[in-house]
Amino acid sequence: MSRYFTQDHEWIEVEGDTGTVGITDYAQGQLGDITYVDLPEAGATVKKGDAPCVVDSVKAASDVYSPVSGTVTGGNEALADAPELVNTDAETGGWLFRVTLSDAGELAGLMDRAAYDAFIKGL
């Protein structure tokens, strides 16, 4: 299992050809109280950089980009009743959606934890 990060503050945890996508703890802290998450449907095809998911905070709606291309296998249903999980557990229980990767090579362009930590330190 490996975890990768994007400059858009998404994370993806990859196991085999399955990726679990969420937003980082840093991102949720900046967005503030999350009130709703618009999740993609299972079966949806996404390309790297598409925005299949929207996170609503009190102040704004924010697109979440898919870090990879593939097919969505499902969204985190717990968020329907408890969108605040994205605030409290952004990088664990507050995951957003799962995707079957169509090109694992896309992961090469993403950051690891150390690189992401350095990236946000520079913001």
Binding site: T35, Y36, D56, S62, P83
Partner: protein, 393 residues
Amino acid sequence: MVCHALRSCVLSEPEENFDEEQPVEVMTLPLDAWHRARGGRMVEFAGYWMPVQYEGIIAEHLWTRQNAGLFDVSHMGQLFVSGEGVEAALEAVLPIDLATLKPGAVRYSLLLDDDGGILDDLMVSRWADGFYLVVNGATKWDDIAHLRMGLPDEITLNHLDDRALLALQGPEAFAVLAPLVSGEQALSALSFMRGAWVTLAGAEAWISRSGYTGEDGFEISVPADAAEQVAEAIAAAPQVRPIGLGARDSLRLEAGLPLYGHDLTPENDPISAGLAFGINKRRRSEGGFPGAAHIQQGLSAGTPTMRVGLTLEGRQAAREGALVYAGDVEVGRVCSGGFSPSLNHPIAMAYVAAAHAAPGTALEIDMRGKRLPATVTPMPFVPHRYYRSGAVT
């Protein structure tokens, strides 16, 4: 704008609710260090660094509804208009009836262009020797220029930029402020939309019983160099927490109060905006203010669109700019929208065609191709709790 990349929200903190036009250099306000020391997250707003939130918008919002919240609104323009013939001069630029504005009274008014379009909304108070105006921060420079042009030379227009402006709002506001204030009359003598000069925590302060949350509360003008001591004295009360711009926006939305630049623009007239009360009775018939002909026409014939409240089902909020539909027909546009922390569901304001403006009308809001069901709802969404004289016996 309806949606933003996560990155844009994260990196460039200010977004749709805070996208006022900004000058190149961001200025600081008297309480800048005070906010930062208290953990306020500072963003650019109306050309100033201002706190958007401290502990979180929902917590701050609910705290204000239940206790008392201290807001710094020093970005707003505080103006003083005086001189021989000031009443007639002000009535020539505002649709206000100053003959019925008693000493110490505060009234809502509107700055209109010649077509009746709204240039700003403002508060006017009668002081002993002139009129005190509070205008919006993002529009204050234009307002000053507009007023200066419309006022005769013998009228003096002072920008009181050496004063800070605070607001203490919420059901505990009176109990917090009363022990800190001394003046000619007891604080309890001030009812909604009345003001008085007092001494507050050692500073000379103009306080009015008014605000932008729908709660009882006070707006407090103090010399800039006394702002910190006054803020400290107020915030020392256990019922008080500092509140940022984020909760200020969600509170005013629940209270049905329009926000200039979003719900009110030069494209909107006071009648369709639901602000006809800002055109005082005598002025409606007499006219003699900018845009009077258009306003009188709108008052008698009605307007094609109306600003309405919308209650949404589900949890997804509608955002400014989203289009409103009745079936397949586009009938309006959302001007403000967000999640209501008090009601726990999304609410919005929109301009819709008059035929679809009746309370109870079922409409739909398009958010990125998804139709969100919405119902026209009387405003305020959350009842006002102003302290009106005679209301409490």
